[in-house]
Each structure stands twice: as structure tokens, then as C-alpha cells.
């Protein structure tokens, strides 16, 4: 989904703020959220992709005004209710001022026709264009790279495409693709650089 989480290339955020001697968790509740999520995930509540999607489904205003572990807490509460492990009323019961949850799943999409037939795949050195995909569901193809042309530098192996069905679409090759900064962001007065992304075959077309 073209959500607020897809931040690459967005302008206006100001400087990166670095904290010296940062603890693993700043407050006790952050560790509890991390531990609960880890255990719930181990017990099969949701896959990593599904958990990421639950964060991506947060209302954009909430996403930007809450912290990292609040995103986790929101996704965890959302998935527990959606999976029927707890009732929404039970969740609200312990938090009288409300328990922030994500918005519902909007849908997903069908796999695209293979760029090179059913078996052939891209090879190192091939020029590829990123398809202009706008899925209502989860994807690992960021907005800032769509439509851009790059070069395949490596084949990373095979993984299930998380955009399709319950986060386990067809198993496909993942490619490391190199993009020139000008192809993504136009000319800059601060030099050029290369941006590398690992992209599923489904996201790519011949260029």
C-alpha cells in the first residue's frame, strides 16, 4: 500500500538526531512490547510480513506521532483482535482512554504475468525497469523506485512474494538492483550515488 511508512525520498523531516549511549529500551514498556511481540510471533500469531503490514495500516497521522514501539504495540493489539485471540472490548477494558489500533486490510493484488515467460529469469547485468505497481496490500517495493531503470548486480535467492494472498505468494528470485541517484531523484548539487534495492522478480520488467 502507498502508506505513510514508505518514507524513502520524502522531504522535510530535518536533521537526523543521534542519542549518545542509547539503552536497548528507553522505557520498561518498550521491552515488554518487544517481548510480547516476539513470543506471540513465535507462537504463530502472524508472520513478519503480516506484522509489518499491520504497522503500515496505521492511520498516517498516528504513525508519525507515535514512537517505534508504539507502532509495535498498535500492530500487536490489532492482530490479536483480528485473529480472535482477544476481543476488542477486552483490549479497551484495561486502557480506559482507548487502545490505538490500525485500520483494516484494504486488499491485496494478483501476481503479474512473468516478464520473461514462466521459467526464464533476469541475469546479472540485465537492465530492468520497476513496474508501476500500486497495491492496496503489503509490498516491499518502495514508491521512490517505481518506474525507474536499474541494473541487476546479483541474484539473492528465492523467497515467497509477500504481496500476494496471506503474505506467501509464489516463490520467486530476489535481485539486487543498482539505481543511479539521478534516475530516482534527478540531478543533485551534492554529487551522485548508487541506491541498491533487493527486489522480487514480480516487481521488474525488461528495460
Amino acid at each position: 500500500m502507498d502508506g505513510i511508512h514508505d518514507l524513502g525520498g520524502m522531504q522535510g523531516f530535518g536533521p537526523v538526531e543521534v542519542e549518545d549511549d542509547e539503552p536497548t529500551f528507553h522505557e520498561r514498556w518498550e521491552g515488554r512490547v518487544f517481548g510480547m511481540t516476539g513470543m506471540a510471533t513465535l507462537q504463530g500469531l502472524a508472520s513478519t510480513s503480516e506484522f509489518r503490514h499491520a504497522i503500515e495500516r496505521m492511520d498516517p497521522a498516528d504513525y508519525l506521532t507515535t514512537s517505534y514501539y508504539e507502532h509495535w504495540l498498535t500492530a500487536l493489539g490489532t492482530l490479536l483482535v483480528e485473529k480472535g485471540a482477544v476481543a476488542g472490548q477486552e483490549l479497551e477494558g484495561g486502557a480506559p482512554a482507548g487502545f490505538l489500533r490500525s485500520r483494516p486490510v484494504l486488499g491485496d493484488r494478483a501476481p503479474r504475468p512473468p516478464a520473461r515467460g514462466s521459467t526464464a529469469s533476469f541475469e546479472v547485468g540485465d537492465r530492468v525497469r520497476v513496474a508501476d505497481i500500486h497495491t492496496p496490500g503489503h509490498t516491499r517495493c518502495p514508491r521512490y523506485v517505481r518506474g525507474a531503470t536499474g541494473v541487476v548486480e546479483a541474484v539473492r535467492g528465492n523467497d515467497p512474494l509477500p504481496d500476494i494472498g496471506p503474505y506467501k505468494g509464489p516463490v520467486q528470485p530476489v535481485y539486487a538492483v543498482a539505481f543511479d541517484s539521478e534516475a530516482l531523484f534527478g540531478p543533485s548539487d551534492d554529487g551522485r550515488w548508487t541506491v541498491m534495492l533487493d527486489l522480487f522478480e514480480d516487481y521488474l520488467e525488461d528495460a
Partner: protein, 189 residues
């Protein structure tokens, strides 16, 4: 909406009480996860890998060829490390790692990510103005050096092998490991 929601500490305590009451989770199990990440994990593991690569050219070759297998040699494995790719800084190339979509990070090597890595500013800007971001970390990269920004969009995780500091020829592997910062292994230090 967030302004109306209860303090996250209140929501967290309520959720934990509910899950324990329902028998879905135990407090001890949550304690164990928290302790493991606070006590056992951190950038010291990545630093061991870097120091080994600096002193052992054959290990460096194996690390660059198959990062996952090479760190497993040193006993490093676990969540968020399905596939590790190590990328090496040289006089002509500087590598920088980001995750623009969430906050993917090689936990078993570096621990949980620092706040700046998860914040919107870094995630938005690292791909679009890396030299400006690096200057904020005190790292100046000239136009003659190629910057390669790795956006962690798949299950591959990245470790930057920084350049070995000058004047450390006589240092032991342990002494070298102590010189390797977390930031240097992300590319911002």
C-alpha cells in the same frame, strides 16, 4: 487519535495482564526475551566479525562471498539474519545501510537498532541525500568516492566492513574489535 489513546505504558501493562490472564503468554517468557536482547546482543558481535576480517584475509574472502556462513563460523545466528551480505568500504567506495519501509537491521550482529535508524528523518533522507546525512554524523565523503546506499527491502541484511584504521598494524584482534563502532558497521561512522 493518538492524543486520545492511553499512555503506551498503560496500554502495554493492560495488554500484558490480559494475555497472561488468558494463558496466552507468561511473564517469565517475556522477561527472558527482554533480558536476552538487553544483555546478550549488541554491536560487539559485529565488531568481532569485522576484526576477524581485518586480520584474516581468507576469512574476509569468505565473509564477502557468503556472509551468512562466515558469521555462523563465529557462532552468530538468529532472528533477522536469514541472509547476510557484507559490503566492504575501500578508498573508492563507501557503503551506507538503511531500511526505508520499516527498520530492518541485522539484530544478531548489531543488536536492536538505535532510535535514529528507525526515525523518519534517516529513513527518508539516506537514499535521497546520503552525503548530507553523512555530514551530520561527521563523515565527509568526497565526490570522487562512490556511495552505495543499501535499502533493506528484502530479507537480506547488510553489514558494512569499515576500513581498518591507520596505525593499527600491531593491534590484536581483540584490540581491533574494540575500535569498531556500531555506526561504522551501518556506514554512518
Amino acid at each position: 487519535m493518538s492524543h486520545d489513546a492511553a499512555d503506551p505504558a498503560v496500554r502495554t501493562a493492560a495488554l500484558e495482564a490480559l494475555l497472561v490472564e488468558k494463558g496466552l503468554l507468561s511473564t517469565d517468557a517475556i522477561d527472558a526475551v527482554v533480558e536476552h536482547y538487553e544483555r546478550d546482543l549488541g554491536p560487539q558481535h559485529g565488531a568481532r566479525v569485522v576484526a576477524r576480517a581485518w586480520v584474516d584475509p581468507e576469512y574476509r574472502e569468505r565473509l564477502l562471498a557468503d556472509g551468512t556462513a562466515a558469521v555462523q563460523e563465529l557462532g552468530i545466528d538468529g532472528f533477522e539474519l536469514n541472509t547476510l551480505v557484507a559490503v566492504e568500504n575501500t578508498p573508492g567506495v563507501h557503503n551506507l545501510v538503511v531500511c526505508t519501509l520499516c527498520s530492518c537491521y541485522p539484530w544478531p550482529l548489531l543488536g536492536l537498532p538505535p532510535k535514529w535508524y528507525k526515525d523518519p528523518a534517516y529513513r527518508a533522507r539516506a537514499v535521497a541525500e546520503p552525503r548530507a546525512v553523512l555530514r551530520e554524523f561527521g563523515v565527509e565523503i568526497g565526490d570522487d568516492v562512490q556511495i552505495r546506499v543499501w535499502d533493506s527491502t528484502s530479507e537480506v541484511r547488510y553489514l558494512v566492513i569499515p576500513r581498518r584504521p591507520e596505525g593499527t598494524e600491531g593491534a590484536s584482534e581483540e584490540e581491533l574489535a574494540a575500535l569498531v563502532s556500531r555506526e561504522s558497521m551501518v556506514g554512518t561512522g
